[in-house]
C-alpha cells in the first residue's frame, strides 16, 4: 500500500537561514504520528510547507498521489489537508458557528449568483452548512457557545474550536500544531481522548507537533524528530525515548511516564 503522504528531500531557506533541509517522511492512511524537536527546529515551518503557506525551495511533497508542493494553501486544503495553528488563529469577530462554517465553505456548492438572488439552492446550501457545522460543534461540546464570538471563548475552548474548524474542511490528513500548549495536565489528558476519538470517528490520519511528552508518547504510533531543520530520528515512542541523539538535543534525559 502506498503512503498517503510522502515527503522527499524537503527544504526551505529564509534569506541565509536553512530552516528545514533534507526532510524525508511518509505517513500511511490512518496513522497518528508525532513531530517533535527543540524550539526553532523547523516543525511549524514543515507544517507551513505541507499546507502551502510557504513554498518549499527544495524537495517534493506527494499527497494522495498528487504533488502539492508550492500549491496555494486553499488548494491544499481542498486536496484534503487541514491544520490548526500554534498561536491560535480563530476568526475572532465571528461566532463560533460561523468559524466552523467558513471551513465548511469548500464543501458547499451554491454559487455567488444564487446567494445574491436568494435562489432556492442558496437556502438549501446554507441549511446544509449549518447542519454539518453544528454537528462538529456537538462533537466538541461547543454547541452551547454557537452564537458566542470566538474571541470570547475560554482558552481551552478556543483550542478545541480550532480543531473543530479544521475538521469541518473535511481533511484526510489533519495537522495539529501544539494542541496542548497552555493546557494543564488534566486538560491535556482530555485532549488526548478527544484526538483518539476524532481519529476513529473521521478515519483521519494525524500529524501532530507537541512538546508535552506525556501526550506524544502516549498516543503517537511513530515519531519524527527534527533538530536544526534536519531529521535526526524516526521511530516508535520507545525507540525515540531511548535514542541518545534525541535525548541530547531534546529530551534532556530519558522520559519516564
Amino acid at each position: 500500500m502506498s503512503a498517503l503522504l510522502t515527503v522527499e528531500n524537503l527544504g526551505i531557506q529564509f534569506g541565509g537561514l536553512k530552516a528545514v533541509q533534507n526532510v524525508e517522511l511518509y505517513m500511511n492512511q490512518g496513522e497518528l504520528i508525532g513531530l517533535i524537536g527543540p524550539n526553532g527546529a523547523g516543525k511549524t515551518t514543515t507544517f507551513n510547507m505541507l499546507t502551502g503557506v510557504y513554498s518549499p525551495t527544495e524537495g517534493k511533497i506527494m499527497f494522495d498521489g498528487k504533488s502539492i508542493g508550492g500549491l496555494d494553501p486553499y488548494k491544499v486544503t481542498r486536496q484534503g489537508i487541514s491544520r490548526t495553528f500554534q498561536n491560535i488563529r480563530l476568526f475572532k469577530e465571528l461566532s463560533v458557528l460561523d468559524n466552523v462554517k467558513v471551513a465548511n465553505h469548500g464543501l458547499a456548492k451554491h454559487n455567488l449568483v444564487s446567494s445574491i438572488f436568494r435562489l432556492p439552492s442558496h437556502f438549501k446550501g446554507e441549511e446544509k452548512m449549518e447542519e454539518e457545522s453544528l454537528a462538529f460543534l456537538k462533537i466538541f461540546g461547543l454547541d452551547v457557545y454557537r452564537d458566542e464570538l470566538a474571541k470570547n471563548l475560554p482558552y481551552g475552548m478556543q483550542r478545541r474550536l480550532e480543531i473543530a474548524r479544521a475538521l469541518a474542511a473535511a481533511p484526510k490528513l489533519l495537522l495539529l500544531d501544539e494542541p496542548a500548549a497552555g493546557m494543564n495536565a488534566k486538560e491535556t489528558h482530555d485532549l488526548m481522548e478527544l484526538i483518539a476519538f476524532i481519529r476513529k470517528e473521521f478515519d483521519l490520519t494525524i500529524l501532530l507537533i507537541e512538546h508535552d511528552m506525556n501526550l506524544v508518547m502516549g498516543i503517537c504510533e511513530r515519531i519524527y524528530v527534527l533538530d536544526h531543520g534536519q531529521l535526526i530520528a524516526n521511530g516508535t515512542p520507545a525507540e525515540i525515548r531511548s535514542n541518545p541523539k534525541v535525548i541530547e538535543a531534546y529530551l534532556g534525559e530519558e522520559v519516564t511516564e
Partner: protein
C-alpha cells in the same frame, strides 16, 4: 544640458518632499498612525515663520527655531488630545481622527485669517550657481543639505540614543516597553515633538523657497510625504529621504517630457509598480508573516 538642469530641478523639489516625509515617517514608524495632520502642522510652521519674519521682524534662524518649538508643542497637544485615547483603537479609527484634526487645523486657520495666500518676504537673495550652464540655486543646495543632515540626525537618534531605543521598543510593544520602565506616554510625545518640529522647519523652508503659503498648502505635500514614506518603506528614515527624492525626480522628468498634466498620475503609476514588485517599499524588508 537641459536634462541635467531638469535633474537638478527634480532633486531640489524632491528634497522638499523628503524634508516633510522625514517627520512623517518618524511618527508613522513609531505609532503606526497615518498622521494626516502632519501636512497641517507643516502649514502652521510656515505661518508661524511668516509672522515671525514679516510681522515680528525676527531673523530667519530665530523664526525657524520658533516655528520648530511651537510646532513641537502643537504636535504634542494634538497627540495628547486627539490620538492618545485611540491608541488601542483600530488604526482606521485613528486615521479618521487624523483627517478630522487636519480639517480642524485648516479651517481654524481660515476662520482667523481667511483663506487667501501669504507671500513670504525675501530673506535671502537667492543666488544661482552656474555649473556648465546648469543653474543651481544656493537655496536648493541648502535644502538638500538640511534634509540629508536631518536624516542622519534622525537615524542617529532612533538607532543610537536611549530615547530612540525607547521609541522603537514602544513601537513594537507598548506594554512590554512599560515593563522595561519606559514611560510610554512621554516617549510618544517625544516622537510627536520631533516629528512636528521637523514639519515646522519644513514649513518655514518651504515658505522661503516657494514664497507662497496658504491654509490649505499642507494637503498636497502631506499626501506626497505619505507617498514618499510608503515608497521608501514605512518607518524607515533613509527610505523617506530616498522616496522623497525619487518622487521629486519622477515628477520633474515627467513634466520635462511635456506631460506635466500627467505628472501626479505618473508618480502614482510608478509608486504602484514599485509596490507590486516590492510590497513593503524600496527599503522595507519583505518579511512574510511568521505563522
Amino acid at each position: 544640458m537641459e536634462w541635467i538642469q531638469q535633474l537638478v530641478n527634480g532633486i531640489s523639489l524632491g528634497s522638499i518632499y523628503a524634508l516633510i516625509a522625514l517627520g512623517y515617517t518618524m511618527v508613522y514608524g513609531i505609532i503606526k498612525l497615518i498622521n494626516f495632520a502632519h501636512g497641517d502642522v507643516f502649514m502652521l510652521g510656515a505661518f508661524i515663520g511668516f509672522y515671525a519674519i514679516a510681522r515680528w521682524e525676527m531673523n530667519i534662524f530665530l523664526a525657524l527655531i520658533l516655528a520648530m518649538i511651537l510646532c513641537a508643542v502643537i504636535g504634542v497637544i494634538i497627540e495628547r488630545v486627539a490620538y492618545k485615547r485611540l491608541r488601542n483603537a483600530t488604526r482606521i479609527a485613528a486615521l479618521i481622527t487624523a483627517i478630522g484634526v487636519s480639517l480642524l487645523i485648516e479651517y481654524t486657520v481660515i476662520f482667523f485669517r481667511g483663506s487667501s495666500p501669504e507671500a513670504y518676504p525675501t530673506v535671502f537673495t537667492t543666488k544661482n550657481i552656474e555649473i556648465f550652464g546648469v543653474q543651481i540655486s544656493t537655496l536648493a543646495i541648502f535644502i538638500l543639505s538640511v534634509s540629508i543632515f536631518l536624516m542622519l540626525l534622525l537615524q542617529f537618534i532612533v538607532h543610537k540614543t536611549k530615547i530612540g531605543k525607547a521609541m522603537r521598543a514602544v513601537s513594537h510593544d507598548a506594554d512590554a516597553a512599560r515593563l522595561m520602565g519606559i514611560n510610554v506616554d512621554n516617549t510618544i510625545s517625544a516622537t510627536f515633538a520631533i516629528g512636528s518640529a521637523l514639519a515646522g522647519a519644513a514649513g518655514v523652508i518651504f515658505g522661503i523657497y516657494y514664497t507662497r503659503i496658504d491654509p490649505l498648502m499642507g494637503i498636497m505635500p502631506g499626501i506626497k510625504a505619505f507617498i514618499a514614506a510608503v515608497l521608501g518603506g514605512i518607518g524607515i528614515i533613509p527610505g523617506a529621504m530616498v522616496g522623497g527624492l525619487f518622487l521629486g525626480v519622477v515628477e520633474t522628468v515627467v513634466s520635462a517630457l511635456g506631460y506635466s498634466l500627467w505628472r501626479d498620475a505618473a508618480a502614482f503609476v510608478i509608486l504602484i509598480l514599485i509596490l507590486i514588485l516590492r510590497p513593503a517599499g524600496i527599503f522595507g524588508k519583505n518579511t512574510r508573516e511568521k505563522v
